[in-house]
């Protein structure tokens, strides 16, 4: 198992190189001229454009641009955005915001998703199950934008329970409302998968053993059935967690949280290869580590799963 984990960690290096290159190439292939776009309404002097292009090596061929970027990256120099912000500084500023928001949301979403999913799967067609169906549909039909602004104007503006926006009040105050909304919007997937997965196990023979042992239905559910149904569930949570690292673009925008999602989004709009690649690399590592952990968890949760 440790050798398996080690192998998975080692293979991250070549994959990382491949991904950085692909991402770099893709950003390169994006249409548009970032320096031109920098100007906003006021056009830039051609000489300034030329100077900036030279500074950022934008006129070099793709490969040498990439090598240049990687060279700097390996020296720990993340470079600057086209409008002159220090990328490293920006990341340091934004990661905590995204992580606080994402993890809080994930926690809420997981709790909601599991509770709903577990009880819906355990008592199919019961009250919880029907409520879940309704909630899922609502979440799918109502756009996140609407929910978020609605929550903001009701809970923050009218009732004043939460700060309207920004992260000035720190965790948890500033993050509670956006995270809750994000969590509620995202819980349906987890809940539905938990539901089916649980339903698959609910009829197993060991449930009967549990009853024969005089265990309460709750104990049978939580101690016996759940663990058997957990493989797809933790897989999904892992996917969610990995997604969390990328930040929530819309949420961060609406709640004015300076997170990774907004940064990434803006950087893509500006063809900021450096930012996009750096973030993608972090995401890749995060994703692969999360997946590795999930894969290792398989073996712990279900001893019949063995890694070779």
């Amino acid at each position: 198992m440790f050798r398996y984990a080690l192998r998975r960690l080692i293979i991250m290096v070549p994959i990382g190189i491949i991904v950085t290159f692909i991402v770099y190439a893709m950003v390169f292939a994006l249409p548009g001229d970032p320096i031109q776009a920098l100007s906003g309404g006021k056009p830039l002097a051609p000489s300034v454009i030329a100077a900036k292009r030279a500074y950022y090596h934008l006129d070099d061929p793709l490969f040498s641009q990439y090598l240049h970027f990687m060279g700097n990256l390996l020296q720990g120099n993340l470079g600057q955005t086209f409008d002159g912000q220090d990328i490293g500084e920006q990341l340091a500023l934004r990661w905590p915001v995204t992580l606080q928001l994402g993890l809080t949301a994930l926690a809420i979403q997981t709790v909601f998703g599991l509770l709903f999913g577990i009880y819906a799967g355990w008592r199919r067609d019961g009250l919880v199950d029907r409520a879940l169906l309704g909630a899922t549909l609502a979440v799918l039909a109502v756009p996140g934008l609407v929910v978020m602004f609605f929550a903001q104007s009701v809970f923050s503006v009218q009732l004043g329970w939460f700060p309207v926006s920004g992260s000035a009040d720190g965790w948890p105050t500033s993050y509670l409302l956006p995270a809750t909304v994000l969590g509620v919007l995202g819980f349906a997937g987890l809940a539905r998968i938990t539901r089916t997965s649980l339903a698959e196990v609910a009829g197993a023979d060991f449930v009967r053993t549990g009853r024969a042992k005089g265990l309460s239905p709750q104990r049978i559910l939580w101690r016996h059935v759940l663990r058997n149904a957990l493989l797809p569930v933790i897989t999904y949570i892992g996917l969610d967690l990995a997604g969390t690292l990328g930040g929530a673009i819309i949420t961060e925008g609406i709640y004015n949280l300076n997170g990774i999602g907004q940064f990434m989004f803006r950087s893509i709009g500006m063809k900021e290869g450096g930012v996009v690649v750096t973030l993608s690399t972090v995401l890749l590592i995060g994703y692969m580590v999360v997946n590795l952990i999930v894969d290792l968890l398989y073996g712990l949760l279900d001893p019949r799963v063995r890694h070779v």
Binding site: M1, D205, L296, G299, L300, P303
Partner: protein, 347 residues
């Protein structure tokens, strides 16, 4: 030796129950099967008996190449089974079928009995023409004492014995050369058991089927088997013709085993004292750390010093193979059961 169909040489299987990220649990190798030599002749039936957990099921899994042996080799008709790959392996599989010990777990819960039994025909379409399959499956059901109407049910709707019979029907469906049975009749009542045993024997007689028959029911094993291998802790302790073995067991473990067979004596003669049973002293040893020397020495009623150091080889004694230093001596004694040393308790 041309009639030897299946030959195992030094077959061993060790399971690595490595710690799962849990500290304080040393790496441990379970020596489930630890060097077994066997041969199965064509048309012969070989019984395997032995203590629970001694590696019988594991041995069967090795014999049908479901598990890769840790050591040793398996040949079928002179061909190295370990080398078979792809289509050749699949063709070979058709000739060696298994009836699993756990009837329920080995049936796909989402398949109807008809599809379970007929699956072999899907896999080997040349086994039987398509039109005849349905009938054939129903015939097989009847052969094992079930109703054709059962064909459309799912496994969970059957009783334990019925499931076991579904497994048997699947095992014989393809008309294999070798049938490996892991306790195929343990959950059957005597009458159905008799039917199934008769069926197997008739297949053996008429079609030359070779049987490997694992069972704890010594009566059934005796009835079915031509030869019997007695296993103890991953090894063969004694290997002999059935009648010879039952009449004069040569290994102390075999003796203990036979003496423990429950009987109807109490009914036959309610007033008679219960039969003497050799109850083995001490705990059964663990396959993780098998005892040194003779594996049986920790519980052997006739143990001597040499047993603790030297591991006895399977040796020819009195027309059988026995892995005991004192087999000759034991068989020399008049009474099969040695009462020496008082290690045998009365039961």
């Amino acid at each position: 030796m041309s009639d030897v169909l299946l030959q195992a040489t030094g077959l061993a299987k060790h399971y690595d129950t490595a710690p799962r990220l849990r500290p304080g649990r040393a790496k441990s190798l379970v020596r489930a099967v630890d060097g077994v030599d066997l041969e199965l002749r064509k048309g012969e039936s070989l019984g395997i008996v032995g203590e629970s957990g001694c590696g019988k099921s594991t041995l069967l899994r090795l014999l049908c190449a479901l598990e890769r042996p840790t050591a040793g080799s398996l040949t079928f008709d002179g061909q190295d089974v370990g080398r078979l790959r792809g289509a050749a392996l699949r063709r070979w599989r058709r000739r060696v079928q298994v009836v699993f010990q756990d009837p329920y777990a080995s049936l796909n819960p989402r398949m109807r009995v008809r599809d379970i039994i007929g699956e072999g025909y899907d896999i080997h379409p040349d086994a039987i023409p398509k039109q005849g399959r349905r009938r054939r499956v129903e015939e097989l059901l009847e052969l094992v004492g079930l109703e054709p109407a059962h064909a459309d049910r799912f496994p969970h709707q059957f009783s334990g014995g019925q499931r076991q019979r579904i497994g048997i029907a699947r095992g014989i469906a393809l008309g294999p050369d070798v049938l490996l049975c892991d306790e195929p009749v343990s959950a059957l009542d005597l009458s159905v058991q008799a039917q199934v045993v008769n069926l197997l024997l008739r297949l053996q007689r008429e079609l030359g089927l070779s049987l490997v028959f694992v069972s704890h029911d010594l009566g059934v094993v005796r009835h079915v088997s031509d030869r019997i291998a007695v296993m103890y802790l991953g090894k063969v302790a004694e290997y002999a013709d059935a009648s010879r073995l039952y009449e004069r067991p040569g290994h102390p473990y075999t003796q203990a085993l036979l003496s423990a067979e429950p009987s109807l004596d109490r009914i036959r003669n309610p007033d008679a004292p219960r039969r003497r049973r050799i109850v083995l002293a001490g705990d059964p040893p663990s396959p993780v750390n098998p005892p040194s020397g003779c594996r049986f020495h920790t519980r052997c009623p006739v143990v001597r010093d040499v047993c603790r150091q030297v591991e006895p080889e399977l040796a020819q004694v009195d027309g059988r193979l026995t892995a005991c230093h004192f087999a000759g001596e034991l068989l020399g004694a008049d009474d099969g059961v040695v009462n020496a040393s008082g290690a045998g308790r009365e039961g």
